[in-house]
């Protein structure tokens, strides 16, 4: 541990003021915080809450049902980020669909799915476009490339989400947010600044290494002690105020805002992204005339409350018993970034 890390650690461990609730919004932060055992450094007045920033965790049950239907009934090849494969739907997960003969391929980038479609014109390839501003630009780029190449066997099943309106839904659930560094790297800092200036919502942008997380947390504690609303960028090596204009432009070109259902938080107006009219041919819901599918989550699962910081994973009756990383009941137990999975594995 170097000196600056030690100094940040000392600020955190020696805090003795009033109770503080700090929410890490990003799933990667949740994972790193558990991996580092960072909560063990916290004095009891500081409560670190895991927010809804794991894209897998906030994906609705109905979305998984739609993907399974495309795979099994429409015979589509489903390309997806890996950790979505084990998320339970109403009847089954994509892993279950694969066991029934569906073709489900994990990919690292949506562009890999476009390549797969180009090489296999006889197959219909659907990419599961989930995630926040970090992954949406590449999904947009994939659609643009597919259109330019004249591919007719590629489409997206969109469930992309954006953070600004989710922050609105979370206002009041914590004294300060640790903002997701990767998202801010795309969006820039304007939204977070505005939250601070207009609604007195405090927060800092945090990076992902041990040193960056300790620093962000120490800065948050020091500024909360002062009592004034604040915004700070503690990840300046990656996050610029203006964000990534090229990524923002391609999102705007290809997609437009829509209402979106978040597991746990419900329908948040204008918090999702869907393909614009001119790209409708690449929208799997339209292409395959998918009916409206409302999934039914397991009633015993409390992922929704966990995602809002209203209960701890261990407060859920199925946690650690029927719901484990190998046999997840709720989405938060699937991804390594999910609060339940991290809680189960590291504590």
């Amino acid at each position: 541990m170097n000196n600056s890390m030690r100094a940040a650690r000392d600020i955190i461990t020696s805090y003795s003021g009033k109770p503080l609730r700090i929410m890490e919004v990003c799933g990667t932060h949740t994972h790193e915080i558990f991996r580092l055992g960072l909560r063990k450094l916290l004095p009891e007045q500081i409560d670190l809450i895991s927010g809804p920033g794991c894209p897998v965790c906030v994906t609705s049950v109905g979305y998984i049902d739609e993907a399974c239907r495309l795979a099994l009934q429409n015979g589509c090849v489903i390309c997806t980020f890996g950790d979505l494969i084990r998320v339970p739907g109403t009847e089954m997960s994509l892993a279950g669909a694969r066991a029934e003969g569906a073709e489900v391929k994990p990919v690292y980038s949506p562009l890999d799915a476009v390549e797969l479609a180009a090489k296999n014109p006889e197959k219909q390839v659907v990419f599961l476009a989930v995630g926040f501003e970090t992954t949406t630009p590449s999904a947009c780029l994939a659609v643009k490339q597919a259109k330019e190449a004249g591919l007719q066997n590629f489409s997206l099943l969109t469930a992309n989400k954006t953070m600004p309106n989710a922050y609105q839904a979370l206002v009041g659930s914590a004294d300060a947010f640790l903002y997701p560094g990767h998202v801010n790297a795309i969006t820039g800092n304007a939204v977070c600044r505005e939250l601070c200036e207009k609604q007195s919502v405090s927060g800092v942008v945090a990076g992902f290494t041990a040193s960056e997380l300790l620093t962000a947390l120490a800065v948050t504690i020091r500024l909360l002690e002062k009592g004034e609303p604040f915004f700070r960028n503690c990840y300046p090596r990656v996050v610029k105020d203006e964000g990534n204009p090229a990524a923002l432009q391609i999102m705007q070109d290809v997609m437009e805002p829509c209402d979106s259902e978040w597991r746990g938080l419900g329908l948040i107006p204008q918090s999702g992204m869907k393909l614009r009219e001119e790209y409708a041919d690449y929208d799997a819901r339209m292409k395959y005339h998918l009916p409206v599918i409302t999934g039914k989550p397991n009633p015993a699962c409390r992922c929704g409350e966990v995602l809002q910081g209203k209960c701890k994973p261990s407060d859920c009756k199925v946690f650690g018993k029927v719901c484990t990383p190998l046999h997840p009941v709720g989405a938060c137990m699937v991804s390594d970034e999910g609060a339940c999975s991290a809680y189960y594995q590291y504590t």
Partner: protein, 335 residues
């Protein structure tokens, strides 16, 4: 032979089978013990023997740093070596998919010959079957090996004791990382190469330092993290792993960072995890560092009496957490 690929006729047991065996396998595996008889007849070793078998189905068959042939020899050689056994004899059975290129088969056999020669193990018997197109993925190899255990060696997964040092013989996770990249599912480019290597020389060097080696395990499928949990369970001990001391190649770190994978769970094919009394740790690491396949050896942890069956991670910020239990399929995370 004029054909450029393996055909079903090559597996039918007739002239073409003999041609294939003669031109590819016999040409490479030639030694006095490899005869055309139904079984190899071998001199009796003087001491205890160890025996092991393993199947290899890696796809793609060729990767940066090796191929399935090298892997098939290393896998069994290393399993024998972990018991302190000098590998003496191997058998090798091939299941080859119809249409598999003959020059690829040639390349695989050459790699097996080279690797076997390096360790001094002899391939004494073999079998070849050809499966119809689509019935197997290119080529599957099984190797079975016999080795003679050093008189002073007495290792087992059940022998780890509180106070033992845990040593890794090099940087971890390179083979798993190489295969992920070679499969090209993730569009990532990296020049990372497999750690695949025959480790008898490495094991032999340990016994030059001390006979008091408790556990030697090769960290193959599931990686070092899985091995640590296996040993903690089998020996009914706890293990404290120091996160910062685990050697990881920066390229592997980079790929794992992008995919959200932990190098602790990626396969190695040329790395051992060794448990030995703390007092020998320094000398063992110093000896290992001289070796061809263990230059980055390091003490990565210690064995404790408490937390039986668990692996505790000492993190870079000075806290302690449980190392997560290994899971099944490695699935890269979203972002």
């Amino acid at each position: 032979m004029n054909e450029k690929t393996v055909t079903l006729a090559h597996g039918a047991g007739g002239t073409q089978t003999n041609e294939l065996i003669g031109s590819v396998f016999k040409a490479h595996f030639a030694n006095p013990l490899f005869t055309g008889d139904d079984a190899a007849v071998l001199p009796q070793p003087g001491g205890r023997i160890a025996m092991s078998t393993d199947g290899f189905i890696v796809s793609p068959w060729k990767f940066n740093g090796g191929n399935i042939g090298k892997l098939a020899v290393c896998g069994t050689v290393n399993d024998l070596s972990c018991m302190g056994a000098k590998p003496l004899y191997l058998t090798s059975a091939f299941v080859i998919e119809e249409g598999f290129p003959l020059d690829a088969l040639e390349e695989i056999a050459a790699a097996m010959e080279k690797t076997a020669a390096e360790v001094g193990v002899r391939i004494v018997a073999g079998d070849t079957k050809v499966a119809g197109k689509g019935q197997c993925d290119g080529i599957f190899i099984n190797t079975t090996g016999v080795g003679e255990i050093l008189p002073q060696a007495n290792t087992s997964g059940t022998f780890a004791k509180p106070g033992d040092a845990v040593i890794a013989t090099g940087d971890i996770g390179r083979h798993g990382c190489t295969i992920l990249i070679a499969r090209n599912d993730f569009g990532i480019e990296s020049d990372v190469d497999s750690d695949c290597a025959p480790l008898w020389g490495t094991v032999e060097s340990l016994f030059r330092v001390t006979d008091d080696i408790h556990v030697i395990r090769d960290a193959t499928r599931g990686g070092v993290g899985t091995v640590l949990y296996e040993i903690a369970e089998q020996s009914q001990v706890g293990i404290r792993l120091n996160a910062e001391s685990v050697p990881v190649d920066p390229r592997v770190k980079g790929v794992c960072g992008m995919l959200g994978l932990d190098p602790l769970y990626l396969a190695c094919e040329g790395r051992l995890v060794i448990f030995a009394p703390q007092e020998h740790a320094e000398a063992l690491v110093a000896e290992l560092k001289k070796g061809r396949y263990s230059a980055n050896a390091a003490v990565i942890g210690t064995v404790t009496a408490e937390n039986s069956g668990k692996v505790i991670l000492e993190t870079e910020i000075g806290t302690q957490t449980y190392l997560p239990q290994p899971k099944g399929e490695l699935l890269p995370r979203i972002c």
